[in-house]
Symmetry: C2
């Protein structure tokens, strides 16, 4: 992705490995400043995932892959590291997929560092293909709504939901994006807006509450979101609030697409209601930055994800093309 640092624009990935160190663009401090978080061992990697230095299902997967390569270089017990990393966050499936990928490659005798770089380059290529397939859905003049950040920061480069928009822009299409701010952590306002600005894509941030009004007024042509885990039936989990947008899209006849690589599909889960939903700290709701926004002593409830049944999904934009929800099951059923 294009990142402008001190007036100079260059290509960067959301995370990468230099020697034994895994470097992350620290997503906790964007867009205010660009800081690099350095993970020197598996504890740092686990912290980076838990504390959301890095987030987004595919990027979490890459973090785990690099984390295992790093542990190998440092002579750690790989099974123990894999176990620790797998317990950092419960919902994003790519985390478990990447760990299994790494352990399989290592079992086969492959070099773990090479395996992790393969995984990283592969996910970039998959997201580029998602961009190509998704671009076909975007017309010149399309007004697209997205929720949370399913961009290059959530993958490594390109993104999932944002990949088609990047591709459309680079092809010269004039597009406009409505960016849900995405409370409580504001990944839309902070991260998606930052990526779209860097890419020169026209957009406006809205309170999550405003999406329904825009759909009712006919100001949204297309919705594309990412996914944290996709079940075999074509239901999926994504950032809290996604389900609300899906229901509203159906009410208004607006096509609702989910962009995700196959590494987000969990063959072991039949339907979306079986996907474990992470509950995060109440403070993400009770505070805005360092300011408490609620009275002392009151409580919040903070589920980080929700689930959307398959009948709300027009299609999954994957690296193998656009699949209807029922085609997910067909691809993986024995």
């Amino acid at each position: 992705m294009k990142v402008t640092v001190n007036g100079e624009t260059r290509e960067m990935r959301a995370l990468w490995m230099e020697g034994e160190i895994i470097k992350f663009i620290d997503q906790r401090v964007l867009p205010e400043r660009i800081e690099i978080f350095q993970a020197r061992d598996y504890n740092d990697v686990a912290f980076a995932i838990k504390d959301m230095v890095v987030r987004g299902a595919p990027a979490i997967g890459v973090s785990a892959a690099y984390g295992i390569a790093q542990a190998y270089m440092q002579g750690r017990d790989l099974k123990r590291v894999a176990d620790i990393l797998s317990k950092t966050r419960p919902t994003a499936y790519d985390l478990f997929y990447a760990i299994r990928y790494m352990m399989d490659r290592i079992e086969r005798g492959d070099d773990p560092i090479r395996a992790a770089e393969d995984y990283a380059n592969d996910i970039v290529e998959r997201s580029r293909k998602i961009g190509e397939y998704g671009n076909k859905l975007i017309k010149n003049g399309s007004r697209i709504l997205t929720h949370c950040n399913a961009g290059a920061l959530a993958v490594l480069d390109w993104g999932t939901a944002l990949a088609p928009m990047r591709m459309a822009k680079r092809e010269g299409k004039d597009i406009f994006v409505w960016v849900d701010e995405t409370r409580p952590r504001l990944q839309g306002a902070k991260l998606t807006s930052w990526e779209l600005k860097n890419e020169g894509i026209r957009h406006k941030i809205i309170a999550d509450n405003a999406a329904g009004l825009l759909m009712k007024r006919g100001e949204v042509d297309l919705i594309i979101v990412g996914a944290d885990r996709i079940a075999l039936n074509g239901g999926f989990a994504n950032k809290i609030g996604t389900y609300e947008k899906a229901v509203l899209a159906k009410t208004h006849g607006i096509p609702f697409y989910v962009a995700a690589p196959f590494s987000t599909i969990d063959r072991g889960i039949r339907n979306e209601d079986m996907i474990p939903i992470e509950e995060r700290s109440q403070d993400e709701v009770l505070y805005a930055g360092k300011c408490r926004i609620a009275p002392d002593g009151v409580e919040a409830y903070n589920p980080a994800f929700d689930v959307t049944p398959p009948d709300y999904v027009e299609g999954f934009i994957t690296e193998y093309g656009i699949l209807r929800p029922d085609e997910i099951e067909k691809r993986f059923s024995p």
Copy 2:
């Protein structure tokens, strides 16, 4: 309403008049601290409405009524003051209703100060009746969801949406309230939560995005919201995000009620799409408190209200009982 100041609980209204001064609980600084804003002339009253020292359709109406009484005491041109006050905010109908009420009473030769106090006492009595009628919908153990603040702060006392909950609690029912935080201005997290805490009503604050998940899981029995303007067809305008909750409520078969006095019904507007929608400053979205949450140079779109068609409304809880949407039209049609 019960307000605890320095450990001492007492009864207060959201605003009142002392001599020529109109005093408001300053809703911009709640729940952090309780400050009284003093409006010494009509300019102060106009500022208090525009800047949301006071908000909520019925309370805006009372502010205008007191503002006209104050202008009379100060020997101002009442028509000019009425005109200035009527241009403070465009959506809440009670503002126009209260101004007309005052001008009619003055034309009939009534004392304006007496008329304003009548208006204020009347709205409190109406909201108490809304509480009584609405209380019939609430069962012991009910889990109720509300959006924004349609409480005593938005009326003077009791509230509209919160009046039934107050009544249920005082009758000894065990109830629980899901409080939408209500971005961008967070009236749910800041004001509704403060009122419910003062009243001892169990509740949790949620990001607006989480309401859909809770409805899907069957954790919401009933939804009650307020209204800023009701059209003759039974459609209505309310805080941005209300429409999203109404659509989700219908999807999940959850009864969705609107609590409002008749002063919120605009007989001059046939359907909800004709209601003027206020657009407020982008900064309400781009900043959380004093911190900018978005990259420099990007824009937001900030409609303050949305509109909900009548087919999403189970009933209007009014001072004259609970009306179906089609009964609004029957009450007022010539």
